[in-house]
């Protein structure tokens, strides 16, 4: 009897090693007079740190906004853990925008509670610990912080969620090399086998060592998806060098 009950119960989504966390199928996005993404299909596994690389205007931010549900595709579809972008996927997707999106007047303490209220998976203790480590006090307001510190605070808030998919849009642009190292270190130390991290950037040399695989976008087309060490093995050069070759102006 029990067995029968179990059989008739809805089958939970299988999240084995090979269940992709993100699937994009024939994704296109038209802006007025501009085709931002052109028939893009890809699939990403959990436990991977993925670089989304491409020159300015290649569609990186558009793709991230589509995955996050801030934009809707013109055609094609996106699924995150089998679900279309919406409130349920926002609960498992942690997004770091390419510019500050947080209220400037808030103190770090207020920001911590802001995140704790919005996201059930936010680990306030972990965020506090990381902020303390950087000597950012609870009473500091966002607007009084330097650009680098602001970016670090945003990254800490984003990475303190136990999400399944992290979307980091240009997390290392515009910060000094020491802050860059800290950001990369934070991404590595928060690595989880169950989560996928997508990092968009054009600063490839800095980030190459922490990536499993890279996606090359050019004019809205996915021109390559490959592992970093495969590129180095086959081409005998770094991803950075290959990028410069592929996108030579």
């Amino acid at each position: 009897m029990n067995e029968q009950l179990e059989q008739t119960a809805p089958i939970p989504q299988v999240q084995g090693e090979h269940a992709p966390i993100l699937v994009c199928e024939h994704l296109s996005k038209f802006y007025p007079q501009c085709l931002a993404l052109n028939d893009l299909s890809l699939s990403l596994q959990p436990g991977r740190i993925v670089g989304l690389l491409g020159p300015n205007g290649s569609g990186k931010t558009t793709l991230i906004k589509l995955i996050n549900g801030l934009l809707t595709p013109t055609s094609g579809q996106i699924t995150i853990s089998g679900m279309k972008p919406g409130p349920q996927t926002k609960a498992i997707v942690s997004y770091l925008p390419d510019r500050n999106s947080l209220p400037e007047w808030m103190t770090t303490e207020e920001l911590l509670h802001f995140f704790a209220d919005f996201y059930a998976d936010f680990d306030i203790g972990k965020a506090r610990e990381m902020l303390q480590h950087l000597h950012i006090t609870e009473k500091m307001r966002l607007k009084t912080m330097s650009k680098g510190t602001k970016e670090k605070v945003q990254l800490i808030l984003t990475m303190s969620r136990a999400a399944k998919l992290y979307l980091l849009d240009e997390p290392i642009g515009g910060v000094d090399p020491a802050a860059r190292d800290y950001i990369l270190e934070t991404i590595i130390s928060n690595y989880s086998k169950d989560a996928c991290v997508i990092i968009s950037t054009h600063l490839i040399a800095d980030i190459e060592k922490i990536l499993d695989e890279v996606l090359f976008l050019n004019s809205g087309v996915l021109v390559m998806q490959s592992s970093v060490d495969d590129i180095r093995e086959k081409e005998g050069k770094s991803v950075d060098a290959l990028f410069r070759e592929v996108f030579r102006c």
Binding site: I188, Y191, K209, I210, D229, R232, D240
Partner: protein
């Protein structure tokens, strides 16, 4: 020791070499506990899966072994470590001899030069 990577080769092979060097130098002594993938990945600032791949290779070549719950250890066999050192030395010498040959020195001349240098430094 600083972790350094060149552009032209896979990162995991470079990790294997640098970990071997650390074992050879006794930074991780024979029979001693080896740091976790997570610790090493953070230290070298590399992707944890890449570090995992390097450690798997060191395990399959017998330099490391794992114990189910206790983690990874450096081999206790001094022979195995000596064999690795010899392989690394061979590699260094091959590179050196190739460089000397490019400069136009024969093997005999090279050996004489080495001896001369040794005597001068005493």
């Amino acid at each position: 020791m600083v972790w350094k990577f060149t552009e032209d080769r896979p990162i995991y092979t470079q990790l294997v070499e640098q970990l071997q060097l650390r074992i050879a130098m006794g930074q991780y002594p024979p029979g001693g506990k080896f740091p976790s993938v997570r610790e090493l990945a953070s230290e070298a600032a590399v992707n944890p899966n890449t570090m995992q791949r390097a450690l798997t290779q060191l395990e399959s070549s017998g330099l490391l072994y794992s114990e189910r719950t206790a983690g990874r250890f450096v081999t206790k066999e001094a022979d195995r470590i000596m064999q690795m050192k010899k392989e690394m030395a061979q590699h260094l010498m091959t590179e050196f001899l190739r460089g000397m040959k490019e400069l136009g020195f024969t093997k005999e001349q090279t050996i004489r030069l080495l001896q001369q240098m040794e005597e001068e430094s005493i």
